[in-house]
């Protein structure tokens, strides 16, 4: 139970940090976008591994779901923040 509470607090802190990061004014716009999506991917992995208990599952399941989250976050983080 203590572990679940710590994970929950971590998720809330990461949400606050991503809200702050999204408001950062920078010359390179892709940096805050990249930070926000990296944090989103990290929160996704925390929920999958801890709340959904995938840390106990076979490696192929862990890899599949983490791979998809990372790819989605990379696409949005890199191309979503890029200035044209």
């Amino acid at each position: 139970m203590k572990r679940l509470i710590l994970v929950y607090l971590g998720l809330i802190i990461l949400t606050i940090v991503s809200a702050y990061a999204s408001g950062m004014e920078m010359d390179q716009v892709w940096i805050p976008a990249g930070i926000v999506m990296a944090l989103a991917a990290f929160k996704f992995i925390l929920v999958v591994m801890e709340y959904m208990e995938m840390r106990k599952a076979h490696g192929i399941w862990k890899f599949s779901i983490v791979f998809m989250a990372v790819i989605a976050a990379l696409i949005v983080g890199i191309f979503g923040g890029v200035q044209i």
């Binding site: 139970m1 929950y8 976008a33 929920v47 995938m54 779901i65 923040g81």
Partner: protein
């Protein structure tokens, strides 16, 4: 036959490829859902590259405060659900039921906040056909909204089954319901930053 409700104690080998926590069928569904929403986000990014200014203006019209609040609400409900599964597995049925009830209440809070946000958008005429950004906004958040409603229905059915003293509920059923609910968390964790924060 014992008439008191019980959570069947089962020893599930999660390390086996055919039995991830929540069941193999649900995990295939979760992977497909994440893949589909991921593809939609790729589409969103593609159109953002075509019309960056329009997307920046449209994102600015979204209520980031309500989106952020809904993120916290969903994460809280996810925590309650994980706690419910934890207590059911420990054999503490009443704590499990209470946490499941808290999950459903916070899930309903998400629905109410989202409904309010939809109302705000419609009031100022920001509908599905406003522009490409809002087409994606309504489709992505709309499909997610439906998932949350279905998730709440699933949790309610499981809760009634667990509370009914004449039925036996398998741990796997509760885990499956929880996995579906957490999937709603996962999808929102990708949707919220992509729609509200990045552009």
């Amino acid at each position: 036959m014992e008439l008191t409700a019980k959570i069947e104690e089962q020893k599930i080998d999660y390390k086996s490829i055919s039995s991830p926590p929540g069941g193999i069928l649900l995990w295939i569904l979760i992977l497909l859902e994440v893949f589909t929403f991921g593809l939609s986000l790729a589409g969103l990014v593609y159109y953002r590259i075509q019309e960056p200014e329009l997307f920046a203006q449209s994102t600015a019209m979204l209520n980031t405060y309500l989106g952020g609040l809904n993120t916290v609400v969903l994460l809280t409900s996810g925590f309650f659900m994980a706690s419910a599964v934890h207590y059911f597995k420990k054999g503490n049925r009443s704590a499990g039921i209470n946490f499941m009830l808290a999950t459903i209440i916070t899930g309903c809070a998400f629905i109410v906040i989202k409904w309010h946000e939809y109302g705000e958008k419609l009031e100022v005429g920001l509908g599905l056909e406003e522009n490409m950004f809002f087409t994606f906004y309504w489709l992505l958040t709309g499909f997610h909204f439906i998932h949350v409603v279905v998730g709440l229905a699933i949790l309610l059915i499981i809760l009634l089954k667990v509370k009914n003293s004449n039925t036996t509920t398998k741990t796997e059923d509760i885990e499956a319901g929880a996995a579906f609910w957490h999937m709603c968390d996962l999808l929102w964790l990708l949707l919220f930053p992509a729609l509200y924060l990045v552009f």
